[in-house]
């Protein structure tokens, strides 16, 4: 029997998606390969002149290994009971900056009426969620600081469903390691379970008292004041609970996965 035919359609699709996930960011960013060439230019040479640098890949591998080590350190440092500071309304940054890997006019336009939030992976109830159902859940609000990996920060006001409440409602296996997110703008990312269960982690449906606008992630974003901006996915269309490392759009290109603050 031909081996290929034994591969189920689902498996094939999964493999294809995995391959695309690994390859597309590399193909789209040829500059990435060049980054270590440049990395080794000045300080790198000065630093490593005494050492034997057999290949750039070796340096990249070593730096990635330290980055994974830093993921573990951050997981260990993360205190589920430590809250991010909150601020008075007068301190909200106006206008709150738009930030994405595309221009604001290219932000996806999601139709709220036929929007369905997909739920997958290690959860008991995989029924998709309509926006109205999410809005009917108990809502929480926070005014917290959003910190970008670039260094800047801005204070904003988000409202929505506590993510831990949502995970409880869908019967998520909270012993699983990761929660992954897929977005309408093809962005994707994933977080650790302790952060997913943190009391300030919100499925944000509103910004500053009004429906979450398109530029800030309509119809829904995951808001975590305990993580850097790129870990807060916008336009979320699917959530899955898994033990398999899902990576992320920026994380797969070299940004630290945990990205905590």
């Amino acid at each position: 029997m031909d081996k290929r035919s034994r591969l189920s359609t689902a498996d094939a699709e999964l493999a294809l998606r995995e391959a695309r996930r690994l390859l597309v960011p590399r193909m789209e960013r040829p500059g990435r390969r060049a980054f270590l060439a440049r990395t080794l230019s000045l300080g790198g040479l000065a630093l490593l002149s005494g050492c034997e640098v057999t290949s750039q890949a070796g340096v990249e591998q070593a730096l990635s290994a330290v980055s994974r080590f830093n993921d573990n350190v951050q997981g260990w440092l993360f205190d589920p009971n430590t809250l991010a500071p909150t601020y008075p309304e007068s301190m909200i940054t106006r206008p709150f900056p738009f930030n994405a890997y595309y221009a604001v006019e290219d932000a996806p336009e999601v139709d709220g009426t036929d929007y369905r939030l997909e739920v997958a992976g290690r959860v008991a109830d995989r029924r998709p969620w309509r926006l109205a159902d999410l809005r009917a859940l108990p809502q929480a609000e926070q005014i917290t600081r959003h910190i970008c990996v670039e260094g800047w920060s801005a204070i904003g006001r988000w409202g929505g469903v506590r993510f831990s409440d949502f995970l409880a409602r869908i019967g998520a296996d909270t012993t699983a390691r990761y929660v992954g997110f897929k977005c309408a703008d093809d962005y994707y990312t994933s977080i650790d379970m302790p952060t997913a269960l943190h009391p300030q982690t919100l499925l944000a449906l509103s910004y500053d008292g009004r429906t979450l606008p398109r530029e800030y992630g309509f119809p829904m974003k995951l808001r975590m004041p305990t993580k850097l901006g790129y870990k807060n996915p916008k336009h979320v269309r699917a959530i899955f609970v898994t033990d398999t490392y899902p990576g992320g759009y920026w994380e797969d290109q070299g940004y630290n996965w945990f990205g905590g603050s």
Partner: protein, 209 residues
């Protein structure tokens, strides 16, 4: 001049002890490497979102792009912090911190500074730091400690809440981190100029005597 404390410890030895013990020399060069990587990658990170009205020329930065610079920065931080802690611990344990860097007085600093500017400062005993050196080296230790603390706040502002408040918040910590970096770079420039003026100090930081 009386015997220095260093000599007193090593009285039975026939050969004079090295100007700088091996652990000081090792710590010095590990620190130099860590600072070089931290500053060069830090400049690239700064460029991603400049605090002030300028950016650093990319040719003198490390990492190529933001993610690369962050990887270098968050790798070299371990070297900087671990080496710094070992250095401070040994300095305390051996008593070197006290007999090399103290006593220190404002009057002594002014006197040695004036002597240095007139070219009258003697360097005949490399085991003895003058008052300006003591102040400069102690300041460098303090400044690197400040860089580490403000850096911890930038890295984990939620988890290190007390340090964050000590720095005056996340945004204030960015400024503290930048100014501490600028001052350290100034120290390094002055330090290198001094080594160029008294080249044998470079040798004593490399070999035994």
């Amino acid at each position: 001049m009386s015997l220095t404390a260093d000599r007193a410890i090593h009285t039975p030895a026939t050969r004079p002890p090295p100007i700088h013990p091996a652990w000081v020399r090792a710590a010095h060069w590990l620190n130099a490497a860590a600072v070089l990587v931290m500053v060069a990658s830090g400049w690239r990170i700064y460029n991603a979102s400049p605090l002030f009205g300028f950016t650093f020329p990319e040719a003198v930065t490390l990492g190529g792009w933001l993610a690369g610079a962050l990887q270098w920065h968050f790798a070299a931080m371990w070297l900087l912090a671990a080496n710094g802690l070992v250095y401070l611990a040994l300095n305390l344990a051996t008593g070197r911190l006290f007999h090399r860097f103290l006593p220190l007085s404002p009057r002594g600093v002014l006197r040695d500074m004036a002597a240095a500017l007139r070219g009258h400062l003697a360097h005949d005993d490399a085991r003895r730091y003058n008052q300006v050196q003591r102040l400069a080296y102690l300041f460098a230790m303090f400044d690197i400690a400040l860089l580490v603390v403000s850096g911890l706040v930038l890295w984990k502002s939620v988890q290190f809440g007390m340090l964050r408040e000590l720095m005056g918040g996340y945004e204030a910590a960015r400024r503290v981190h930048f100014v501490a970096m600028a001052v350290l770079v100034g120290f390094v420039a002055l330090h290198l100029a001094m080594v160029a003026l008294v080249p044998r100090t470079l040798r004593t930081m490399i070999v035994k005597s």
